[in-house]
Symmetry: C2
Subunit: 338 residues, 2 copies
DNA sequence: CCCTGGCACTCATGTCGGAGGAGTGCCAGC
DNA sequence: GCTGGCACTCCTCCGACATGAGTGCCAGGG
C-alpha cells in the first residue's frame, strides 16, 4: 500500500498534468504544491510510483505522466466529484426547461454537456425497452392501408405503415384501437406480446388477417425500435487533443461515427451510479487514449437511458463527473414532468 | 479570354494538385500530361494564369496551386460530371432500398454519401414547408390533455402535447378531428392557416377555448417545425486535411456543429441543378477553405430538401458531383415509392 | 530510517549554417 | 510564338552544438 504522501504526490501529478498537458517534474511539483518535502524526496516517491505502474516517463530526463492505472487510482481514491456552482445549475435548468419535445430535450442536453465539459457529449434516447405504452393509434390512410402510431411515456413517437390484405372497416378499426389500448396502455414493452396474442379471436373471420398483421407490426416495432438511437455533439472539442493530432483524433472520430460503438460504450456503463472507463479499459481500440464518463438517467427512480462524455484520458475528472451527474439529474426531472 | 492551351494547363494543374496535394511545377506538368509544349512555354502560361488570378504561388521557387477562382473556372468550364459505374449505382440502390423508415433513409443516405465521396455528408430531412398533410390525429391522454399528432406525406410524424383549460369530451374531440382532417388533408403546410381559422365557430361556446388552443398548437407546429433538421456524417473524413491540421479542421468542425450554419449552407444552394460553392464563396468564415457541393432531391419533380457534401477546396469535383447527383436521384425514388 | 543537498548524466529542444534541389523568370535564338 | 539555357530564389533537410529540465544516486544529518 502506498503511503499517504505518495498518494498526495500522485494526486499532484495528475492535477498538474491535466492543467499543463506537459510531463511534470519533481521541482515544479514542490513549487506548486505544498508537500512539505524537497524535490529529492519527491523523486524517490516518483520512482516508487513508477515501479508500481501509476506513472510513466516518456523518456529519461523527462517529467512523469500518469498511466491509465494512475488515473484509475486517482478517480477511485483521490478525487471527489466537484459540484457545479448554483449559477451553473440554474443555467442548466433554464436551458433544458425551454425544450419543446423529446428531440429538443436530447438535442439541448447534448449541446449543454459538450459546452460544460468542453468534450464530446453522447446522449442516448430514452429506451423503449424499459418504457411503457401511453397510447396506440390506428389511422386509415386508405381502405387497406393503416398507419400505426405508438406513443410512449417518454414522449417518443414511432410510426409504421401497414398494408392489409383486404380493406378494413372504420368500425373494426375503432374496435381494435379500443381493445388494443385497454390492454397495453401503461404496460412495459416487454410485457406487451402475451397480452395481445389472443386479440384476433375477438374479431370476425374476415377481419382476422388484417388484425393479425397490425399486431405483428406493432410487436415488430417494439422489438426493432429497442435498437436505440444516440445523439452526439461537441466533436469540435476533439481539437483540444494537442499532441500528434491527426493520429489521435482520427480513430476517435471514426469510432464515434458508429452507432454500434456508441451504444456499446454506454451499454457497458453500470445502470446506477457513475461509470468511468479510462484509456485501455475501453473495449474499442480507437478509444484507447480517451476516457468515458457515463451515468444513467430516468424519469423516475429507474434509469431509462444513459448519457456521458468522451474526452482525453488527461481530463478534469472531478469537474467532468460533476457536470455529467448534474445534467443527468436535470434531464431526469424534465422527463418526469412531461 | 484565355487561349485553349492555357485552359488546358489550368485543368492539368487542378487535376495534379488534387491528386498529389502538392504545388505543381512546370516540368512535372509536361511530363504527366501531353500538352505538346516545353516546360518553358508552360511557365509563360502559368505567369499569365497567375496574373489573371487563377493560380497562386505559395512562395518564389515553388510550384503553383489553384485559387478559388481557378477552381471556379475549372468547375464551370473544364470539368464534367463523372458518372458512377453501374456497380456503384447498384450498390447505392440496394443500400437505400433496405431502409425501413424516414430516419433510416436519411441515416443511410448520409453514410452512403460520406463513404462514396470520402468527405463530410450533409442531408436535410424532407422539408415540412413544401410537404402536405396526410393526417392529423387527436388523442385524449387525460380529460384535459390532448396529444396532437401530425403526419406528412413524406412519412414524417410530429407530436405535441396540448393542455386544455377545461376537459374536452370524446365526441367533441372526434368532431374536431373529423372537421380538421377534412379541411387540411392533402394541403400544403403554408396553405393551412386560413383554412382552419373559422373552425372554432362551429363548436359550442364552452368548447371553443379548447378548440382554439389545439388549432394554435397545430399552426405553431407547422411553423416551428419548418425549422428543418439536418443529419451529418463522415466527419472522420476531415482528417484527410493533411496540412496544418488543427487550424484547418477546428473551425470546420465548429461550423458543422451549428444547425443554423448547415441550414444556411444548403439553403443557399439553388432549388434545381447542382450548386458548387468554392472556398470564400461560402458565407461562413470557418468554411473558407472548403467547398460545398449540394443538390435538391424530392419524391416528385419538385425538390423537397437538399443534400450535399463538404470537403476541401482541393477535391475531386467531377467525381464528387457525380456521386452527389446519383445519391440524390435514388433517394428521390425511394421517397416516391413509400 | 527517512529526508536532504549536491553532482554527474541523459536526452529533448532550439538554433545556426551549409548543402541540395525544385522551380522560377528572363533572354537570346530559331 | 516556342524553346533551351542559365542564373537566381528560397524551401527543406541534415548535422553540430549549446541549453536546460529532469533524473538517479550518494553521502551526510536529524
Amino acid at each position: 500500500m502506498l503511503s499517504e504522501r505518495r498518494l498526495e504526490v500522485l494526486r499532484a501529478i495528475v492535477q498538474d498534468y491535466v492543467g499543463t498537458e506537459e510531463p511534470v517534474g519533481s521541482k515544479a511539483l514542490t513549487e506548486r504544491h505544498s508537500l512539505g518535502v524537497s524535490p529529492a524526496t519527491v523523486r524517490n516517491d516518483m520512482a516508487v510510483l513508477e515501479d508500481e505502474g501509476y506513472i510513466h516517463q516518456p523518456h529519461t530526463s523527462a517529467g512523469r505522466v500518469p498511466t491509465d492505472k494512475g488515473y484509475r487510482l486517482f478517480v477511485d481514491k483521490l478525487a471527489g466529484v466537484k459540484p457545479l456552482s448554483t449559477a451553473e445549475r440554474r443555467a442548466i435548468q433554464n436551458f433544458l426547461d425551454s425544450a419543446v419535445d423529446l428531440d429538443d430535450v436530447v438535442g439541448r442536453t447534448v449541446r449543454l454537456l459538450a459546452q460544460l465539459t468542453r468534450q464530446v457529449a453522447v446522449v442516448q434516447y430514452p429506451s423503449l425497452t424499459r418504457s411503457t405504452v401511453r397510447h396506440v393509434e390506428l389511422l386509415a390512410l386508405a381502405p387497406a392501408r393503416i398507419m400505426l402510431v405508438l406513443i410512449t411515456d417518454t414522449g417518443r413517437v414511432e410510426q409504421r405503415l401497414v398494408d392489409c390484405p383486404a380493406p378494413v372497416g372504420e368500425t373494426v378499426l375503432a374496435d381494435l384501437r379500443a381493445r388494443l389500448n385497454s390492454r397495453v396502455v401503461g404496460r412495459r414493452f416487454s410485457d406487451v406480446p402475451p397480452l395481445v396474442q389472443d386479440l384476433p379471436e375477438g374479431f370476425e373471420q374476415d377481419d382476422r388477417p388484417a388484425v393479425s398483421i397490425v399486431l405483428a407490426t406493432l410487436l415488430e416495432t417494439l422489438v426493432e425500435e429497442t435498437e436505440e438511437r444516440i445523439m452526439l455533439g461537441g466533436t469540435a472539442n476533439l481539437t483540444r487533443f494537442n499532441h500528434d493530432f491527426p493520429l489521435t483524433i482520427r480513430p476517435v472520430l471514426e469510432a464515434l461515427e458508429e452507432q454500434m460503438v456508441l451504444l456499446k460504450l454506454l451499454g457497458e456503463a453500470k445502470d446506477s451510479g457513475m461509470t468511468v472507463r479510462i484509456g485501455h479499459e475501453n473495449f474499442h481500440e480507437g478509444l484507447n487514449s480517451t476516457s468515458v464518463v457515463a451515468v444513467g438517467y430516468g424519469s423516475g427512480d429507474e434509469a431509462v437511458a444513459k448519457l456521458g462524455v468522451v474526452g482525453p484520458t488527461r481530463m478534469d475528472y472531478p469537474g467532468t463527473m460533476g457536470a455529467v451527474r448534474a445534467v443527468a439529474r436535470y434531464v431526469g426531472q424534465i422527463l418526469a414532468e412531461s
